[in-house]
Subunit: 303 residues, 2 copies
């Protein structure tokens, strides 16, 4: 299954010449979601040749400006490109009032509806589900209500074992029932157990986005066994005290999250503008979790 | 005198891969002002190697998003770069509430003050004046209260004619008085008229920014004899009907403004995203006003 993350922005609150504020497009088999929407996200979407109007689901981790100042411009541009399909925005409580105020104050009228889903509380929430994926929000540890997102592929149908179709002369409907887990009854009444007929599908892939946050073991249930973990790495480990004060991640906490969660790969993001290059941060994380990379604006990553 | 305009954005409401939304930095002898602040202005400021913190005066033409969605991010970044000097924002009435709401809703606290000057009404207003320049706002013709800006150099001192200093053995204070327009009294009481002692300074230069607007002769008093006129050119002349409906400029109205105002040079801006190149628009305007150029993002223009 095609499951990728395109990084539109990977800076902390202060963007730089190399990195814009947080934003990503997650693409599962052509179904595209935007996660966070820092200033300039719409320009990055253009540069990455992603069709803006193909995005109908926007997930905002928290209501700090560096994660949403690109939203009014994007919504306005969608309107100017004559959008009619609704946009679904999932964000902490307050997003609706924030955007309503801003759209009214700037005389921005939209020719399509926005469906708001305002997140609150400390329980995980399944925000969205279709035949390709499921998106679950879970609470992070930051100075304002902040949520991580787990994007999972939907379980696939079982695969028929080689030769089964011909051996039993299966019709299409039979095959679909078997691939869904059913046993198969022969004309003489004999039941062939499903396990004789099928083999498991490829395991589903999972992507987790945790930004901005401290690390805590309380995150583990949500990020366990993910294929790609994108984690807040605002600071290097020498600045752990500042990170803890500001409730942000470090090389150390990101790598600890990845190893504790048994993640397959770790992507660091939300780099402080003090780092003109982040190779040293990647190497620092790699001492704990070798399969670590740095998010880079404009790059697409396989989950 | 060094008097330049750096174009940060020159698109209409919908930005493109080549053009961002409206924003410009005007620089008079190192004194920098920002005019309009579309999304991404702070990134363009970085790309153009302009010191963000050197900007203390921001002029917003009107409260449409494409002219101000870059403002919250810029103000936030100024704070993150530990600004303490106040920022002065000149914008139509409503800007204060708009920004106050947004800063509160996004938990953005600033370590410096914002001084608001909210413009309203139909009279021209001198918004700002220092020893280098004067900025006057004047009403434009758009769907919401919108203002043009005239930026003028301050009149310079008169120049002493060659040889005058030695002929009359002038002290510094005498020279300054004469350069300011005074006559000079000789010890015997004879008065030498100022005109005998001085020659005029270089004429002051003027820049006018008119975006978004229709053209009308009512603008002429404010844009008369400017050295550079930056004018709304959202559409080519074949779309005049749409321009009039949407209260925007065309090649034709921009060129008419320039020739009627006796401007020295015309810069077209605010191009609709429908134009992948604007050479044909420049040529269209040049049939009426030959000294026409197109604003281009990232370019600096002498006034």
């Amino acid at each position: 299954m095609d499951f990728t993350v395109t990084v539109l922005g990977s800076s902390a609150a202060l963007p730089t010449a190399m990195r814009q504020c947080s934003a990503q497009v997650v693409n599962i088999e052509g179904f595209k979601m935007l996660i966070d929407c820092g200033e300039g996200a719409q320009n990055q979407i253009r540069r990455c040749r992603i069709k803006m109007q193909s995005i109908s689901h926007i997930f905002i981790s928290h209501l700090h400006g560096d994660h949403l100042f690109g939203l009014p411009g994007l919504l306005s541009s969608m309107h100017l490109c004559t959008r009619v399909e609704p946009v679904n925005i999932y964000a902490p409580k307050g997003i609706r009032q924030l955007l309503d105020n801003l759209l009214v104050d700037t005389g921005t009228s939209l020719g399509y509806d926005i469906n708001y889903f305002e997140m609150e509380g400390n329980d995980p929430m399944v925000l969205f589900e279709n035949n390709k994926c499921k998106v679950t929000a879970f609470p992070l540890i930051h100075s304002v209500p902040t949520f991580g997102f787990l994007v999972e592929e939907q379980p696939q149908l079982l695969n028929l074992k080689r030769g089964v179709k011909d051996e039993y002369n299966l019709a299409f409907d039979d095959m679909m029932r078997i691939k869904s887990g059913a046993d198969y009854a022969l004309p003489d009444g004999t039941v062939v157990p499903n396990a004789m007929l099928t083999k498991p599908p490829k395991p589903i892939k999972k992507y987790a986005y945790c930004c901005d946050t401290l690390y805590s073991d309380t995150l583990l249930p949500y990020i366990k066994d993910v294929d790609l973990l994108c984690f807040d790495c605002t600071f290097d480990k020498s600045l752990t005290a500042i990170a803890e004060e500001k409730l942000h991640g470090t090389t150390l906490s990101a790598a600890t999250a990845a190893i504790s969660a048994n993640a397959k790969r770790l992507m660091l993001t939300h780099f402080s503008a003090r780092y003109s290059e982040v190779d040293s941060l990647v190497m620092e994380a790699q001492t704990i979790f070798p399969n670590t990379i740095a998010a880079c604006d404009g790059m697409r990553y396989e989950v």
